[in-house]
Amino acid sequence: MRIKNAIIFILVLAIVGLAAFTAFNGLQVGDRTIRPVKDSIKQGLDLQGGVFVLFEAQTDATGAELDQLMNQTIGVFRRRVDAFGLTEPTIVREGDKRIRVELPGVKNAQEAISMIGKTAQLQFIAADNEEVVVTGNNVKKAEVAFYDNEPNPVVSLEFDVEGSNKFSEATGRLAQLSNQMDKIIYIVLDDQVISAPVVGERIPSGRAQISGKFTVEEASNLASLIRAGALPVNLEEVQTSTVTATLGVNALSKSVKAAQIGILLVLLFMLIYYRLPGLVANIALTIYVLIVLGVYVAVNATLTLPGIAALILSVGMAVDANVIIFERVKEELKTGKTIRASIDSGFKRAFRAIMDSNITTLIAGVVLYQFGTGPIKGFAVMLIIGILASMFTAIVVTKFILKLIVGMDLTKNSKLFGA
């Protein structure tokens, strides 16, 4: 019995040690590699730097009409954001009229914001005087169309009233010019010419067609580019946050250092105050931290600055369950019970207190998750994972290891248990 217990205990120590090493440094077995935790956890904007903007659509539309507007806007944002070539941009609708845009790792934050939120980036420029005729603001519609007398698809445009007047005037002027090169209207998106149709005649109706030897795909690409030039609705920035990468990296390294020192101090405290059970609690605590980080990687949660704070805080609170148990075991020992019996009844009595206190805290965590956004949500996720993991480690892991140690029959000295 003693030897069996000792072997299991050493095995547990070895597994925990290996797992801790892997979490810190990563592991390579043959051609399989496990990345260290710090490389696998997705970092929030406040840690890796980037831009976050919350836009609000200025519209009275509701229902299906609003949904369509919002979807179109998100589509336009996507196309614009893709131009930055970022790895993990997030563009989601929040509530009814809001769109949350998160661009991690963007270099020039201010420029990115103005690029995304600009209403009109599309310009129609007359070749003769290089003046802007109309902008994307004036474009009401841009779609692929087919005509009987045309073998190829065309892009059909429709302008608003102001655009129709300006377009009519400009096409009237250009149509009369003799030089072919002067009769062009350049369609420019972000300083890039996406199309350069030649004006054939004056277009007074506000409806124009761009024809050429388009394939269907080319025509629909052009149409969607023109549509992307104009947001279907005016947007207001209701909240912005940008952090440079240097600032974020600094925050991360400082918080990680704080976490390491904080956890180390807690481990020391437990060892000095509770001795043998303290050591057991420390093994459980190490497992706790590994579980929390593992779950974090597994659910692909985003680590934010408040999230790190919650993690560190939860370490302090995870100790609590152990403290409740050990205090109880100590009391049982004082009544003259054997170590084994004291552990059993101590755990049993502590269990109810641990369950009830953690479930009430869990209620706060869930409410926080429901109501919070962004970093607060990150904090809530960390809190919830922390509470569940701490209950598990205290009730299952601590008990298991304590029993192993008692099973090894190393000592009958109840002083080692703090009594």
């Binding site: 103005s114 209701v238 400082k254 918080s255 009830d356 109501f371």
Partner: protein, 296 residues
């Protein structure tokens, strides 16, 4: 320990802190962050120490009411805080002015935080709602697991902790912003956790209840759990102090109220929650005249 008997002293200490905080808050106002009022916060790295007046001169052209601070170890980081909700192009203009004057590259525009005024109101509303909803949830759970008087006493302790933290925010002039909401909610969870452990002991010790002496049961239970209460707060405090000492500015703003909250939580679980529960029980005894103790 005669904790219940001396309850007037404990209540008075708490009341004093809360009143000082709230009166100070009412007189000089809270340091409300831009997330709540709406506004813009910008941080620009200047790479050299520049007199505040010089920065102010640049900022004044855009908003004369802006608040200018120097941050960082070498005080080379200009922080501009304005209650005006500046849009993207206005912010670009301000940075351009700095860029031209100090010849800065783009990456020196370290941070922008901008909140429209509506957002602030929403955060306040959701925060209040979150507090009320979680308090009701906890009350329901405690009533289900214990008894309604335990739930009410726990909620009193909880409101006490929240008020103490609000008082600390007011006294130390910590910015009230979204981390404030997270801090308050963490304290809600923490404080109730602490209180429940004491109540659990009372629930257990009610078996030995003699002559309906609730005060004695409460005193015994507090004595039995006090070393746990203190040790738990100590370990939690150790980690938060580490965060406060080593962390960055935003974390420190969060760590400070948490420290106050954890101390308030420990204090209230010992000195507020159980005495309040005893008061409720004694009121029940007087009203019903029913001598049978309730064991649940």
């Amino acid at each position: 320990m005669k904790i219940v008997e001396n309850r007037k002293i404990w209540f008075a200490i708490s009341a004093a802190i809360i009143i000082i905080g709230l009166v100070l808050g009412a007189v000089r106002g809270f340091n409300v962050g831009i997330d709540f009022t709406g506004g813009t916060l910008m941080e620009i790295e200047l790479h050299k120490a520049v007199p505040v007046e010089e920065i102010r001169a640049i900022v004044n052209e855009f908003d004369a009411t802006a608040n200018v601070n120097l941050l960082g170890e070498e005080r080379t980081m200009a922080q501009i805080k304005t209650t005006k909700d500046l849009d993207s192009s206005e912010r670009t203009e301000i940075f351009k002015a700095f860029k031209e004057k100090y010849d800065l590259p783009e990456e020196d525009f370290l941070r922008i935080d901008q909140f429209g005024p509506a957002v602030g109101k929403e955060i306040q509303r959701t925060a209040l709602l979150a507090i009320i909803v979680s308090a009701l949830g906890m009350l329901a759970y405690i009533t289900y697991r214990f008894e309604v008087r335990f739930g009410l006493a726990a909620i009193v302790a909880l409101i006490h902790d929240v008020l103490i933290v609000v008082a600390v925010y007011s006294i130390l002039r910590i910015p009230v912003n979204s981390p404030f909401v997270a801090a308050i909610l963490t304290i809600l969870g923490y404080s109730i956790n602490d209180t429940i452990v004491v109540f659990d002991r009372i629930r257990e010790n009610l078996r030995f209840l003699k002559k309906n002496n609730y005060a004695e049961v409460a005193n015994t239970s507090i004595t039995q759990t006090v070393s746990r209460s203190i040790n738990t707060s100590l370990t939690t405090l150790i980690t938060i102090v580490a965060l406060y000492v080593l962390g960055v500015e935003q974390i420190r703003e969060f760590a400070l109220p948490l420290m106050a909250g954890i101390m308030a939580g420990t204090y209230s679980s010992i000195f507020i929650a159980s005495p309040v529960w005893v008061m409720l029980k004694e009121a029940q005894k007087r009203n019903s005249g029913n001598p049978t103790p309730e064991v649940k």
